[in-house]
């Protein structure tokens, strides 16, 4: 077996027994199941979960991710002392963090939809939600890894992770809303669509909305939105943006991992 698979395998074994990851899985399962239980229809449950996904997934990936990278520091040094290339070691370590995070979400949120398949959630909607959740997990795990490798001070690192979360989930949209209000007289739609792609949380939201809320996308903005993101091409653009949000921080983190001193 190659180094990536070996290190990934160890990471999966470790985190699949991690109580926080288990709690996280159960939490999603409980909430989704509870929403169905209290009479939610498929589309309603999807929308409620979307809010949760946009807020909680980045938070958990960032905070758990940075703490996990810090906690594995000594073990990583032991592995680095073995005759293995850093590049492969990094890939294994990252995947060993990101896949359990994504998997916990997919299992926790996915099973209730499979069980309640007849309650009217569209396959496209569920697929979009799961894709968005996986994308957010992978992207923010990469960002968390980067933060933890960048900052040796653990407290500072977790602080940066929290600040990043706040910026991505709330502050960024606040600035966009402000821009929409201040520059309301100008044709803003296209620049704003561009800004949506520049934030992984917005990309994930857009990806799900194009599958869920088509009728809500109204007026000129809605038409343009639908025109831009509702097509196969647009969904592809959004998905590509989400992939870019995984790849770019991951590339930065990998570069740092290869070059830095431990």
């Amino acid at each position: 077996m190659n180094v990536v698979a070996l290190v990934l395998n160890a990471g999966l074994r470790d985190l699949s027994r991690n109580r926080w990851i288990v709690a996280y899985t159960l939490c999603f399962f409980g909430i989704a199941e509870g929403l169905f239980w209290f009479g939610g229809t498929g589309p309603q449950v999807l929308l409620s979960l979307l809010n949760l996904v946009l807020l909680v997934l980045p938070l958990v990936a960032l905070v758990f991710g940075t703490i996990h990278v810090y906690a594995s520091r000594e073990f990583v040094e032991l592995l680095l002392a073995q005759p293995v290339p850093r590049r492969q070691l990094f890939a294994g370590l990252y995947l060993g963090l990101a896949l359990p995070l994504a998997g916990a979400f997919v299992v926790g949120a996915g099973i209730p939809f499979a069980v309640h398949a007849r309650q009217g959630a569209s396959l496209g909607g569920v697929a979009a939600l799961l894709t968005a959740g996986v994308g957010l997990s992978l992207a923010f795990a990469a960002i968390a890894t980067w933060i933890a490798l960048q900052t040796d001070d653990r407290l500072k690192g977790v602080g940066i992770a929290l600040a990043t979360w706040l910026a991505a989930t709330v502050v960024y949209d606040g600035l966009v809303l402000g821009a929409a209000a201040v520059f309301g007289d100008y044709p803003l739609e296209r620049p704003l669509l561009g800004l949506m792609l520049a934030n992984p949380v917005d990309v994930a939201r857009v990806l799900v909305l194009t599958q869920l809320d088509v009728s809500a996308l109204m007026g000129y903005t809605g038409a343009l939105f639908q025109h831009t993101f509702g097509t196969v091409l647009g969904t592809g653009v959004a998905a590509t943006a989400l992939v870019a949000w995984c790849v770019v921080p991951l590339g930065l983190a990998e570069r740092l991992f290869r070059r830095r001193d431990f």
Binding site: L50, L55, L209, M218
Partner: protein
């Protein structure tokens, strides 16, 4: 009142005439090997009360004009009357004429004349039923035709552009019409009423219209019920009329910049009851209308369930169901002149301590974000952003910007019905 009395008198007279004439009625058969080779010849020979029976086959003749009263033109085995892309197909220009069982097709496009598959012109009591209309510029055109019945027709236009297409069923100064059980697809407006009062439209299906599934202008005291309007480009528009009853219809899947399940503009007095508005960009759009009783409707999965502009007043929304809409209610001003009372809202999170089925806390159906979007449409891109949820929650706790008066003081705990 005088009008109605007159009409009844005329009707009685006609009925007695019809009874008197049936005894002498004869069938004039048209078709290969039959007595008449052309429909034109049969129509020329027909006497009032006769029946022209058209056998299967394709007939390419000059525009057919029925000038004989009490005549029935009936197809046997779906004969095809082909306008050859050049002319109107059939014109009813006498009273009490019935046309049934024909296939009318291919009027062709003209920018000079409104060619129709069947036109009733200055006629009374015509019956147009069980016909198939295919690829005509206009389908069935009632022009100053009074008390006519248009039913069970199947009207389809394929692929024409809006500028090259007329309406499926078009009424102009034609009062007292009954339009029932027709299926219209792909015309500019599926059903169009203009200056046509006292009409009844029910059980029709109008879909994929290039503009409106149904379009009413200046047509007072009409009833529309049990119709299905779906996938129409701009939905349904009812304008400049009084005393309209819209009951038990379905308005579905009208999407786009200016698409409405039902657009009401300058309607004075009327009832909008027990309809379903589902998956429209805007379910119900009310502009400049007053004294509407909006009751028992279901609004689901719309972008805006109900958009009520500030120039609409004294409209009452009661016992409606709102579920799964991006926005339940929005308006363009902070003053509200319409009332909401005793509706069911899926977003309502209040409680009912005395268990009378009515929530103890009032519900404000207008979200802050809906107002923001109304003023800054580009902000719609933030729909369902966590930030927006936070803003809406804050506004609900401490309303400062949303209209104070637009409130449901008696929100229902369970959906009505």
């Amino acid at each position: 009142m005088r009008n109605a009395v007159m009409r009844r008198a005329v009707l009685t007279a006609l009925l007695s005439l019809a009874a008197a004439s049936t005894a002498r009625a004869t069938d004039l058969t048209v078709g290969p090997g039959a007595r008449f080779a052309t429909i034109t010849a049969a129509l020329a020979a027909a006497q009032p009360g006769d029946r022209v029976l058209v056998r299967a086959g394709t007939y390419r003749e000059a525009t057919l004009v029925v000038r004989t009263p009490r005549l029935t033109v009936q197809g046997d085995g779906w004969p095809v009357l082909d306008g050859q892309g050049a002319r109107e197909v059939l014109v009813i220009a006498a009273d009490d004429v019935t046309v049934r069982g024909l296939v009318l097709t291919n009027t062709g496009v003209s920018s000079l004349e409104d060619r129709a598959g069947i036109r009733a012109r200055d006629a009374r009591n015509c019956v147009i039923e069980r016909n198939r209309l295919r690829d005509n510029l206009w389908g069935i055109y009632l022009q100053r035709a009074t008390d006519c019945i248009v039913r069970d027709n199947d009207i389809v236009a394929h692929g024409a552009k809006q500028t090259e297409s007329g309406n499926g069923i078009h009424l102009w100064y034609s009062s007292g019409a009954r339009v029932e059980r027709n299926h219209i697809r792909g015309h500019r407006d599926g059903i169009y009423f203009e200056f046509s009062t006292l009409g009844v439209t029910r059980d029709n299906v109008s879909e994929q219209s290039q503009r409106y599934g149904m379009h009413f202008m200046f047509s007072d005291s009409c009833r529309y019920e049990r119709n299905i309007f779906r996938d129409n480009n701009s939905g349904v528009a009812v304008m400049y009329s009084r005393g309209v009853v819209i009951h038990d219809n379905r308005f579905e899947r009208s999407w786009g910049s200016a698409a409405y399940g039902l657009l009401l503009k300058d309607i004075m007095g009327g009832e909008i009851s027990d309809n379903v508005f589902s998956r429209n960009s805007t379910g119900l759009f009310v502009e400049g209308s007053s004294r509407l009783d909006v009751r028992g409707n279901e609004f689901t999965q719309n972008g805006w369930a109900a958009k009520v502009l500030a120039d609409a007043d004294q409209n009452r929304f009661t016992a409606n169901r709102f579920a799964g809409n991006a926005f339940d209610v929005t308006t363009n001003s902070s003053s509200a002149n319409s009332t909401f009372d005793g509706n069911w809202w899926d977003e309502y999170k209040g409680y009912d301590l005395n268990r009378d089925g009515v929530g103890d806390v009032a519900f404000h159906p207008v979200r802050l974000f809906a107002l923001v979007v109304e003023q800054h449409p580009a902000a719609l891109l933030l729909l369902r952003s966590p930030l927006v949820s936070i803003l809406d929650a804050a506004e609900r706790v401490l309303p400062v910007l949303t209209p104070e008066a637009l409130v449901d003081k008696h929100p229902l705990m369970r959906p009505p019905r």
